[in-house]
């Protein structure tokens, strides 16, 4: 029991500790690929430390909701990150929320962030909110369809069970899994405000979605929101890794060496995902906001197609 709790705690601290690092790796990789010097890899940590030390400024008419949202968003994302298998499957609390609940938990974080965008009553916050909910309204069903596909293959919506099943030899290559993977990558790009949906580097207000929503935040509040964004990136990378690259995931009850090996595998997968993300982002241009629904709509259709394939082939 104590040991199980310890493993769970280790995962929570691990994701929290390396989340800014992953963001830093992606940023500096992108800069290098564009032949720029770029910020150091550890820059996100320095940014966070600086923001945390500074005083927070609040608009005069900001309500309690505006102040509570950073903490809520951070904790909901952190809990989601704690429930996705990273280096080990079958953690002590893995049964408390299945994949659908994790999706809904992330949806809850977005719900409050979108509300916070409207709280101060400026035009930029509203523009961010209205676009964010538009993107989310298409990305979330796409994600649910992907969940359906994976759940039908593995016979479970529990992520630990899915991971264990995916690592077993009886899975094989399946068309529906391929479609689900493509759809999941597209959704992950959209949900993390990445190219081609949103540009995480831009500070031109009219083109941004996520950044416009959090424009009024400063100090420790902004630090929490940035950290939550990094954590969300890690949640999606872990999700892709544990469902589609399930190799090397240890069992939470396994030996210490197995867990360490699992952690090494996990870090390797994160690095691979970061490199892939950086390369993808520099090779593609940002879409106009009203072209974004086409992109996410394609993900939704792929997800639906994958689910349909599962439904049809299940009866054969």
């Amino acid at each position: 029991m104590i040991r199980d709790l310890f493993v769970q705690g280790a995962q929570m601290l691990l994701v929290l500790a390396i989340a800014p690092l992953v963001t830093g790796v992606v940023r500096s990789m992108k800069a290098r690929l564009l032949r720029r010097q770029g910020p150091p890899i550890l820059q996100p940590y320095r940014d966070l430390a600086r923001l945390l030390r500074k005083e927070a400024t609040l608009a005069h008419n900001a309500s309690w909701l505006f102040r509570a949202t950073p903490y809520l968003v951070f904790s909901a994302t952190w809990i989601a990150a704690a429930l996705v298998p990273t280096f080990a499957a079958g953690m002590i609390f893995s049964w408390s929320a299945d994949l659908i609940a994790i999706v809904a938990l992330l949806g809850g974080a977005r719900f409050f962030l979108a509300l916070a965008g409207m709280d101060v009553g400026t035009a930029f916050g509203g523009i961010g909110t209205s676009r964010e909910v538009m993107i989310a309204a298409l990305a979330e069903p796409a994600l649910i369809m992907i969940v359906f596909t994976v759940a039908l293959i593995a016979g479970s919506t529990q992520l630990s069970t899915i991971t264990t099943f995916m690592a077993s030899p009886e899975v094989g290559l399946r068309v529906s899994l391929g479609l689900a993977l493509i759809a999941l990558i597209m959704v992950a790009l959209a949900e993390n405000a990445r190219m081609p949906i949103d540009n995480p580097a831009t500070h031109l207000e009219l083109t941004m979605v996520h950044e416009a929503m959090v424009l009024e935040y400063s100090g420790r509040h902004l630090a929490l929101i940035e950290l939550a964004a990094s954590l969300k990136l890690i949640v999606y990378m872990s999700l892709i890794a544990c469902v589609f690259l399930p190799w090397g995931v240890a069992s939470a009850t396994g030996e210490r060496d197995a867990l360490l090996l699992g952690a090494a595998f996990y870090l390797g997968k994160l690095l691979a995902c970061s490199v892939a993300l950086a390369i993808f982002e520099i090779t593609i241009a940002k879409l106009r906001v009203f072209r974004a629904p086409d992109f996410i709509g394609a993900a939704l259709m792929l997800g639906l197609l994958a689910t349909l394939l599962r439904f049809v082939s299940e009866g054969l």
Partner: protein, 679 residues
């Protein structure tokens, strides 16, 4: 005739006595109309009666009693009035009176501002009584009379503020659609009873109809109960009528009356009609999925707060009907465990919807009272002026957006789990349709989130858009108590869904012949619909985790880093002190989604009218939105009726000789027909 053992039918007797009290309250309301305190008196008495009904329903359900039946010497002389209280009735009795009791408490405060008391007070108890009687009725005659009482009393309440032209139109369309629904139900029961005219439910149950007749009944019940519940395309009256009534009545109509319609549907299709056929599930699933998406999309673009809520009711009804459709499909495929899961999900969602939709309508009523307007474009910043209402409305919005750990998530999660079971269905059309319906449900759940971000954000957040909103005052303690109680229940039911699922088990057992495994015994109070390796969810733990990590984060940051705070003007990228009109409003927040679905669903046309350069004339931007259902289905029917009426209008202005001629001619024609009729 009324000979019965009192002990055996205690709950039913208590229920009927409470209903009688409600009818008595109608008389009392008429007598005491001029007394100032009558409003509070009537509503508190109604609360007592609802509480008694709630208690008798709960007693029956939790004791696991056998069905109780009573026949009273009322109604048709050869039939009598049959009443029966079984597990299904008692579940709906609880749902109904939970909503009714909270509405009564809210109304004690809200009703003080009512200027047309005489048009509300007498009808309110009758409305409550009629809904209860529908649930208790055990013969077609009693059922239909109660149903019609329910329609007419709610119609009277919709017409309470009859000086507003929009309300008159709403009332007119409502009474037309209600009549259509009643006629459909009348025919359905006629077909069920058969030529012998055995109208009591026991006889109907004993003689299941032939397949073709059953199909006819399905269609008629879908029209009859579906139109009352708001199933597309019969939903057109609902977003007009529900907002027109006073807010506590809106809450009852949206939160409770639609559930009575769902009850009617369940009573006929899961009880009276016998074993279902596989394609029934198909029809109900398709109707439910389409209703859910259509409802929420229209909810997203409304600017009247109460109309947003009314359209969102249509969405939730879609959710419930998807659950029922799945249950029918599973039942016909011989998968009772899956049918039990789907049916439980539907009942659970009906229960949850009553909680949060009543809460949200109370919130909209509070806003209406405080600012005098339902128009979202005139609100803003109410979280500062009305903190308690804002918090309650936020909880309701989270629940209806299916966010964990609130109750809406638990029931939608169960519905999705039921869909994941559907590859087991044997029929190909079902196999192909169900994932599509699953996609529609996921889409409507996500859109509901967007819809309530918009509703809460525009009304309660930001800066006030009108003087009334800037000077709004928090509402009275009665209203706050009603909202607070419902918000607390949304949270508690979300944290402990297992107890609700267990409570629904007897009703599920009666309807589909199986029930979900007991949830209360599962360690840590998780819910496990099938097996733990398949899926489980624990709202309590998720809530505890989120709260704990929030506290840890806040304490750590305040202790180790900084807790300094400074209030400044908003940053807004350096724009100084912009006008509140520059905020995103109800129209603009919905604009991206309207563009995505615009041409297809709304037939939205945007018209920009820019003055030429140099001119000081204002620019105009206009959006026109049309309801396709209205244009393609109702407008032609209305056109046909008015065309016929216009042609027949000539008949009114003839001379007496011509009328006599017509009478003579028709007599001759009829006699000729009689003579020529092959006997």
């Amino acid at each position: 005739m009324a000979s019965f053992e009192f002990a055996g039918v205690m709950s039913l007797t208590a229920s009927l006595a409470s209903v009688a009290v409600l009818f008595g309250l109608c008389i009392l309301a008429l007598v005491t109309l001029r007394v100032k305190a009558s409003s509070a008196l009537i509503y508190l008495s109604c609360f007592a009666a609802s509480a008694a009904l709630l208690a008798s329903g709960a007693t029956h359900l939790f004791r696991g009693s056998a069905p109780e039946a009573v026949t009273l010497a009322l109604g048709l002389p050869w039939l009598g009035a049959h009443f029966r209280l079984d597990a299904l009735s008692s579940v709906f009795l609880i749902i109904l009176n939970l909503g009714a009791a909270s509405a009564c408490v809210f109304a004690v405060g809200y009703g003080r501002h009512e200027h047309a008391r005489g048009r509300v007070l007498p009808f309110f108890p009758v409305f409550l009584a009629a809904m209860n009687l529908v649930v208790l009725a055990a013969d077609a005659f009693t059922f239909l009379v109660s149903w019609e009482f329910m329609s007419l009393s709610s119609w009277a309440l919709v017409m309470a503020h009859h000086r507003e032209p929009a309300n008159v139109r709403a009332g007119y369309i409502y009474i037309l659609m209600a009549s259509l629904g009643t006629i459909a139900l009348l025919l359905a029961f006629g077909v069920l009873a058969g030529p012998t005219g055995a109208y009591d439910f026991a006889s109907i149950r004993a003689t299941p109809p032939a397949p073709l007749t059953a199909a006819l009944v399905l269609v008629l019940v879908l029209v009859g109960a579906g139109s009352k519940a708001g199933l597309a395309p019969l939903h057109v009256w609902l977003p007009l009528a529900h907002p027109a009534a006073p807010s506590h009545v809106s809450a009852l109509m949206s939160g409770v009356m639609t559930k009575v319609a769902v009850y009617g549907f369940i009573r006929v299709l899961f009880d009276l009609i016998g074993a279902p056929q596989w394609w029934w599930g198909l029809v109900v699933l398709a109707a439910g999925g389409l209703t859910a998406v259509l409802g929420v999309l229209f909810a997203l673009i409304q600017t009247d707060l109460k109309r947003v809520l009314a359209y969102s009711t249509i969405e939730n009804i879609g959710f419930i009907f998807v659950g029922l459709g799945l249950a029918l499909a599973f039942e016909s495929n011989g998968l009772p465990a899956a049918a039990a899961l789907a049916f439980t999900a539907a009942l659970f969602h009906a229960f949850n919807h009553t909680l949060f939709k009543s809460l949200l309508f109370f919130g909209s009523g509070a806003v209406l009272n405080a600012t005098g307007s339902r128009d979202m474009e005139k609100q803003g910043g109410l979280i500062h002026r009305m903190p308690v209402t804002a918090f309650a409305f936020l909880v309701g919005s989270m629940a209806i957006s299916a966010l964990p750990p609130l109750n809406g998530f638990a029931s939608e999660w169960l519905t999705l789990q039921a869909i994941l079971w559907s590859p087991q269905l044997a029929e190909w059309p079902l196999k192909i349709l169900t994932p599509g319906v699953g996609g529609l449900l996921a889409l409507s759940a996500a859109l509901a989130g967007a819809c309530f971000v918009r509703a809460f954000g525009v009304v309660f957040l930001g800066r006030p858009r009108s003087r009334e909103a800037a000077e709004a005052r928090e509402v009275d303690p009665w209203s706050l108590a009603a909202m607070g109680a419902l918000a607390a229940m949304c949270l508690i039911v979300g944290l402990l869904p297992g107890f609700v699922i267990d409570a629904l088990a007897p009703a599920t057992q009666a309807a589909v012949g199986a029930h979900m495994s007991p949830q209360a015994e599962i360690p840590w109070l998780s819910i496990v619909p099938i097996a733990e390796s398949r899926s489980s969810y624990n709202g309590l733990l998720v809530f505890a985790f989120v709260v704990a990590s929030m506290t840890i984060a806040a304490l750590t940051i305040h202790w180790l880093a900084s807790r300094a705070l400074r209030r400044t003007p908003a940053w807004d990228c350096g724009f100084p002190d912009a006008n509140p009109a520059t905020q995103y409003g109800a129209g603009s927040v919905a604009q991206p989604i309207r563009r995505v679905f615009g041409n297809f669903v709304f037939r939205a046309t945007e018209k920009v009218d820019m003055p030429p350069p140099g001119s000081t004339a204002p620019a105009h931007f206009r959006v026109d939105i049309r309801d396709r259902v209205w244009d393609t289905l109702y407008a032609p029917i209305a056109g046909l009726v008015s065309y016929a009426a216009e042609k027949l209008n000539h008949l009114q202005f003839l001379t007496i000789r011509r009328y006599l001629g017509f009478v003579f001619a028709s007599l001759v024609i009829l006699l000729l027909a009689l003579a020529l009729w092959p006997s």
